[in-house]
Amino acid sequence: MDKKMLKPVVFILSILLAVIGTTLYMGTYFSGLLFILAAVAVFLVYRWLESGKTALIDLLKAGARTLMVPFFGIIIAIVIGAIVMLASNYDPIESYRALFYGAFVRNWYVSVLNAAPLMFTGLSVALAFHAGLFNIGAEGQYYIGAMAATFLGLNMNLPPVLSLVLIFILSGMLASAWNIVPAVLKVRTGAHEVITTMMLAHTARYLSPIFIRAHGGDPSTSDHAYVTDQLPETNWLPRFNSFLPDANYRLHVGILVGIVMALLVYYLLYHTRIGFEIRAVGENKDAARAQGISVGKAIMMALLFAGFLAGLAGVNQVVGLDHKLYENLSAGYGWNGISVALLAGSHPIGVIFTALLWGALDAGGQYMARVTDTSNSIVEIIKGIILFLVVAKYIYAYLGNRIRRYRRRTQEAAKEAT
């Protein structure tokens, strides 16, 4: 009876600790890490209570196995990065110290700011991958979301919370509508979504300068000519420093929205009917069809959800960070979302971490370039190598086989020698 009472209590405690920890940590309160670790520990206790010791050990083992490949990839990438720096006469130790200090301590808030849009676009690409689709045009949906959020933010005069919620939902839906054409073309004619979403991505990107000029501020009062008017403060996303006084004044709660979306996408994919249909179609559309699943509907839903998520990245930037839309055509959150999704193996929870890693590497790179002579293009090299080493998983199977074969040969040689 005690155990029965205990289980929900332990579960709720772990959730509570995780929420507090994440909020604190994303608000640059490093004590949040302790809460997160405590939450993990309490969660393991919960699993132990629920399914016993062996299941817990299996869970830990599976966890370790999943983390091995990315961990290994990151270490190797760092080593190769060091070699590149040595070869180009930079001091790797000095540079890496600056990189990590900048990414995870000094400018952690920049890392978090960078990670938020990547989380949304990463989720968008990851969700589409589950349906066997490559939403390469997340960049375009990002711009549609950003433009819609700017337009709504400038023109909507509703109570603050309601207006923000509406901005998120309506802008997301508009971005999702941007994917209707590729989705219909895919279902009806089989036109490949890589081509169609990519083309529409360029269209959306270059629509943005026109939109900005139509909603522009007075160039004489701004040092940036190509920018829209500023959104009224009622339509800004709350900032961490409104409840955590030491947080950086620019840091907004978009990252928390991103984490919640990741959890929702996880739930959608693995615990709902439509998610099951999306995954079944992605893994084997012939078998799915033979069991009465509509392949067209699953593709449609996946692309619309993907568009919605990518659109939220744009909303997040406008209502959270910039509060206006810049003609910034080089940020590339949509393109980088592809890397983030690939690195996470398309797992929505994995996207949280890979987005943070990518954001941190960018922030660290900027800091490193400022305080040392090292060019921050090193960071791009490291990112490329990490992605390569993690995505190209077959390398490990190959290496594993080679090692096993070598061991067997040496054992045989030893046997024959005796």
Partner: protein, 511 residues
């Protein structure tokens, strides 16, 4: 003849071959002998180690320990090229041919005659012609491979080996893709090769094949040789028992059963177009009554897959009607047919039957994933129920797996088929469409699946069975319908006919 064989020269011998894979001991201490000019069978179920042994012989794998002797000389093959140089030839189950190339080009590929990097096509063509005439393997040297039937493509593979001067020929499941007539022709060819001094090894899990063609047979089970028999001194039952390791029933017993009078499923003058817009099913009519199994016999490619897909709603019907329990369902979607308790066991279980990376539980649920109790409040999947329900069926259908949360791809072929059976049979179907239910499965699994299908018949389900295996048609059907070029050309009572007569109509009533 068999008495002489012991005195015949041993041409190929393996001594205590062991092949250890990371988790599986595929071959354990295998010693076999092949005499000059004999046909030897290696019989075993899937996973018995036959293919591994042949791949070791052919230089694709290196053995963990053990020796290969060729004419009493120890040899080591590091690649198929070495094996070919020593006179071994292999015909794989899946042909390794370049479809747009001609027969001659395919045969000489990798051993082209000619000087300084040029190819002497004229000489090549002559040589190919000479070999094909010598061995009675008739095939047009100038035809492209894609224009040939499967049986002729296999001939090209055999010619390829002979062109490279093979005197030992390994055939991996050679009849798997052939029609009954092509099988007979192949056997003639193999016998001809033996008589001209070529030694042949046939890898198979089909007992009929062993009995029909080989002189001697080794039986493999679990990576070991469990028996050696002269074909003239053994029986199918003996071989089956050795192969499975227990008493098996080759033809499950079937009691007579009166079918109901009102047909459950009616097909009226059905016409279905294939992808090339050509009528694959052309005016087919059929009634299936409750408690009877109607067997569709036919050579592959006579409309079987189009018929199955049209009946389940995956392919549109061009004209005609499909009626289930009195309602016209011709234009109903697959989803709604499943709702009407129509069940389907597809012939290609990997492509149409299972979502391999998904768990066993999910594969048992799929199709019913949109209804309670699998779904709660319309969208939330209740995995607790899904997995416990799957666990019950895993138990009931004897599916060998440690956990219902294992992906389906981790199961053996027989267990994968049992997952599909569990899903379809547990849904209380009124009409059951079963297409090639035992394709590629071994004797033990076939017995089990046949029993389950008969049990469904005894529960008054109307069953339509499509199979390319005449054995299966005869073992299960209460009525045999012969499908030829999209039409039913003949109906038989299985008790009043035989393989030969049915086979005759399967090829259009022509020799």
């Amino acid at each position: 003849m068999s008495a002489q064989q012991d005195t015949k020269q041993v041409i190929l011998e393996t001594k205590s071959i062991v092949k250890q894979f990371p988790r599986v001991l595929a071959n354990n201490d295998i010693s076999i002998k092949l005499h000059k000019g004999e046909i030897l069978s290696l019989l075993g179920e899937n996973g018995a180690g036959k293919s591994t042994l042949m791949n070791v012989l052919y230089g694709l794998y290196t053995q963990t320990s053990g020796k290969i002797l060729l004419n009493d000389q120890e040899v080591e093959f590091n690649s198929p090229k070495d094996a070919i140089d020593f006179g071994l030839g292999m015909v794989h189950q899946h042909f390794m041919l370049l479809d747009p190339f001609t027969v001659t080009e395919n045969i000489i590929l990798g051993a082209e005659p000619g000087k300084f990097g040029t190819i002497d096509y004229k000489q090549a063509r002559e040589e190919v012609k000479a070999i094909s005439e010598k061995h009675g393997l008739k095939v047009d040297p100038d035809a492209t491979v894609e224009s040939l039937s499967v049986g002729l493509q296999q001939r090209v593979e055999i010619l390829k080996a002979l062109y490279r001067k093979a005197n030992i020929l390994i055939l991996d499941e050679p009849t798997a893709v052939l029609t009954p007539q092509e099988v007979d022709e192949l056997f003639e060819v193999i016998k001809g090769l033996r008589d001209s001094g070529v030694s042949v090894i046939i890898i198979t899990h089909k007992l009929e094949e062993v009995m029909a063609i080989s002189d001697r047979v080794y039986i493999l089970r679990g990576g070991e040789v469990v028996g050696e028999r002269k074909t003239s001194e053994t029986s199918k039952t003996d071989l089956a028992n050795l192969m499975v390791g227990r008493e098996v029933v080759l033809t499950v017993e079937k009691e007579d059963k009166e079918a109901g009078d009102q047909p459950v499923f009616k097909i009226e003058d059905l016409r279905v177009l294939n992808q090339k817009n050509y009528p694959a099913i052309d005016g087919l009519s059929l009634d299936i009554k409750p408690g009877e199994i109607v067997g569709i016999a036919g050579v592959d490619g006579n409309g079987q897959s189009e018929l199955a897909e049209a009946l389940i709603g995956l392919l549109p019907v061009d004209s005609g009607k499909v009626i289930h329990l009195g309602d016209d369902i011709t234009d109903l979607s697959t989803k709604h047919r499943i709702k009407r308790s129509i069940s389907y066991v597809p012939s290609d279980r990997h492509r149409h039957g299972l979502v391999l990376p998904m768990t066993i539980g999910e594969n048992i649920m799929i199709g019913y994933h949109d209804r309670t109790p699998y779904v709660k409040s319309g969208f939330h999947l209740d995995y607790k129920y899904i997995n416990s329900h799957a666990a019950e069926l895993v138990e009931a259908y004897d599916i060998r797996t440690p956990d219902v949360q294992n992906p389906a791809e981790k199961l053996s072929g027989g267990n994968q088929q049992k997952v599909i059976l569990a899903r379809e049979f547990s849904r209380d179907p009124t009409f059951l469409l079963v297409s090639q239910p035992t394709r590629g499965l071994d004797v033990g699994a076939i017995e089990y699946i046949h029993r389950q299908i008969l049990a469904m018949r005894d529960h008054n389900v109307a069953i339509l069975l499509i199979s390319l295996e005449l054995e299966e048609i005869f073992a299960l059907s209460d009525r045999i319908e012969v499908l030829y070029e999209g039409r039913i050309v003949k109906e038989f009572d299985p008790k009043q006919t035989d393989h030969k007569e049915v086979g005759y109509y399967m090829t259009g009533g022509k020799e």
